[in-house]
Every structure is written in structure tokens, then in C-alpha cells.
């Protein structure tokens, strides 16, 4: 099954590289939620995340002719993730967006009234702690914790050494553990 999906993705990629927009549209649908998830975790703003994701897909389309699934560039997924991460960070830097954690929705609209205030406060604090991390560490943390990428895949995606992945992840987790100590004790 996985192999079938992989082969199909390769076909889609080949067609898209030849200018087939429908094939690229299919790739967009496949990676839409994952790309949005990454950029959202990085900028903590759904609207901004959608903009960044659109920029990422547009950039991916324009650079598609240059993509080669080699050891240097990695898989299409990792290549796309790298573009998405860069798009998110570019938007955050260019627009100098100051994400206001206080004004973030405390809970998802669909969460209903059952979501306790304590839980909402906890989520707010965690988001705040993640956003407060340096970009480099935040990216590694998001790819590990929310995308479940292996160390090697993260290294490939961000084009950094494996040791750097480990040190950035360790730094991010230490920072979060320090900032969220009181929260974790309650939990």
C-alpha cells in the first residue's frame, strides 16, 4: 500500500514537474494539513499559517523544476517541509509579526463548553513557551514533537548535522521544562 502511494506520488511529482497543475493540486491536497500544521506550530496563528502555507506551495511550484530526489535534497516531503519552514520564518520576520499570546483563542471553537478554564490556561502557557523559543530550536521541536520526524529526517529537512538536531532539541526541551515546570507539576 505504502509502496503504491509512494509510486503514485513519484508519478504526480513527475507530471507536476512537467507543468501539470492538476498533479500539483493533488500534491497540495496530500500535504495541505501537514504543511499547515508545521507553519501553525511555528507562528501560532491560523490565518498567518494559511498565508505561509500558500506561499510555501507557491514557492514549491516555482522551484519544482529544480527539485531532484537526491541524497542531498532528500525526499519531496522533506524538501517541501524545508520550504514551508522557511516561508513561515520569512513571514514572521518580514512582517515583524508579534504574536499576542494573550489574544489567542483559548480553546478550539469546537471544543465546546466542557473545556475547563484550567485546560485552556494550560494550553495558552504551553503555546507561549513554544513561541518564546529561538527559531532554530522551535523548528526542530515542532518537526520532532508534532510531525514525528526522526533525527535523521530533521537533519535532512533543515540541512543541518545530526548533532545540531540533537543539541537544538535538547535545548528546546530543557527550556520548555524550565518554563513549564509549574504546569507539569500540576499535570
Amino acid at each position: 500500500m505504502n509502496q503504491a502511494v509512494a509510486i503514485e506520488e513519484t508519478d504526480l511529482l513527475t507530471q507536476a514537474q512537467q507543468g501539470d497543475r492538476a498533479a500539483f493540486g493533488e500534491l497540495v491536497c496530500r500535504y495541505h494539513s501537514r504543511v499547515i500544521n508545521i507553519v501553525y506550530r511555528l507562528c501560532a496563528d491560523a490565518s498567518l499559517a494559511e498565508d505561509a502555507a500558500q506561499v510555501a506551495f507557491l514557492n514549491a511550484w516555482q522551484r519544482l523544476a529544480q527539485f531532484r530526489p537526491t541524497a542531498a535534497q532528500g525526499s519531496f516531503r522533506n524538501w517541501l517541509y524545508r520550504i514551508a519552514v522557511n516561508a513561515a520564518l520569512d513571514i514572521l520576520r518580514r512582517e515583524k509579526v508579534q504574536v499576542n499570546i494573550e489574544q489567542m483563542p483559548l480553546a478550539a471553537p469546537g471544543a465546546g463548553l466542557d473545556a475547563s478554564l484550567e485546560q485552556q490556561e494550560l494550553i495558552r502557557q504551553v503555546r507561549q513557551a513554544i513561541i518564546a523559543l529561538p527559531e532554530a530550536s522551535r523548528v526542530v521541536l515542532v518537526l520532532k514533537e508534532y510531525e514525528g520526524l526522526s533525527y535523521r529526517e530533521i537533519a535532512e529537512t533543515l540541512e543541518i548535522p545530526l548533532g545540531t538536531v540533537m543539541s537544538r532539541l535538547n535545548y528546546a526541551r530543557n527550556q520548555l521544562a524550565m518554563r513549564l515546570r509549574s504546569v507539569m507539576e500540576v499535570v
Partner: protein, 212 residues
Amino acid sequence: MNGHIERWLDAYLDDELEATLRSQVETHLTSCLDCQKLLAQRSALSTLLLQVPAAQGLKPEARFAAEVGLLIAQRPHLRPSVKQELRQWLFNDTSRNLGWLAVPIGLLLAGIFIQTVAGLSSVLALIPGPHQEILRQISMAQPVPVLANPQLWSGMLSGLGWFDLLQWDWLSELLALGAISLLYLAWLAGWLVHNQRRFALQDQINALTGKQ
């Protein structure tokens, strides 16, 4: 395993450790309360992070894809520039490796060539009479292509002074092989520097997986 294992805990938690090291970490954990506490803290942190919900209130996937479709409709693929193409070719793994391999292969061929010519020179030295006369008779006896004419090459190389291949003595041969060896060592040094990052990465991978 001596001491604490903080450096391995993240990799252990993320299931990135090789079986042997993983087993050592587990053994250590059974007897170390500090590391147990740290592991529990790390585990609780991961659980806490997963409580943050994904983005909500997003556009439907089809609408998002349609919007991206509109965005790309007016934008063709960007063709890589000549510089990018050249860069890709130069830094492409295959061509880069072939490029690096070409140097020692070239040096090896040069060494073989020098050894062959030196051997030929020794054989000629055993034959009485001047070598040029023998070569002249050979070339007159059977016509040879211009480029394969040994007289031509010998004459051209004689123009370089001492570099007369067919009159090399053991000292010339030694010097030539020494020069090739030096070139090889220079290539080796360059290759090591070039691959330093890769070796460092491999060391990290070995450290991570516990391989020696």
C-alpha cells in the same frame, strides 16, 4: 554504563538509540532515581505538548488547493539559472564523487605509465647502440599513426630537457613517482578536509547508535 545518562535520554525517549545502547540505558534507569525523574519529566513534557490542538477554523482543503491553483496559474516553473545548474552538477553527489575519484585514478594511470616507460627504457638500455637509431628504424620499417609515433613523442618530450621518457634512469623514475606520491597525499589531505563534516556527522551517528 558509568555516571548519568542525560545525554542519551532524549534519544532514548525518541526511540533513536541502537538496541545495545538502549539496553544499557534501560539498565541504568532501573538503578538511578535521578535519571528516572528526568525521564519522567521529559515524557510529561511530550504529553503536555501534544495537548496543544492543531490549527482550527481553517479553509477547507479543496478551497485551499483551489486558491493555490489560482496562484500558480500565472506562474511558470522557475528554470534553474546556469549558475544553479552548474552548482547542482558540481555538488551533485554522483558527479562530485566521480570528480574526487578521477584524481587518484589519474595519478594511478600516470604511475603505471611512468613504470611502463621506465621498463621500456631499461629494455632499450640493454640493446647496444643509440636508442634513437633503433626507434628510427622501427618507425621506418612500419608506418605508424602520427600520434602513436614514439619518435614524435620522444622528440617533443626531449624538448622539455630532462623529460626524455625513453632515456630515464632510476633517479628520474624515483623523482616522478615521488611527485605522484606527493600529489596523492595532497589529494588525500583535500579529500579529508572536504569530508570532515561527513566524518563528524558519522561520528555523531555512531555515538547516537552506540556503534564504534
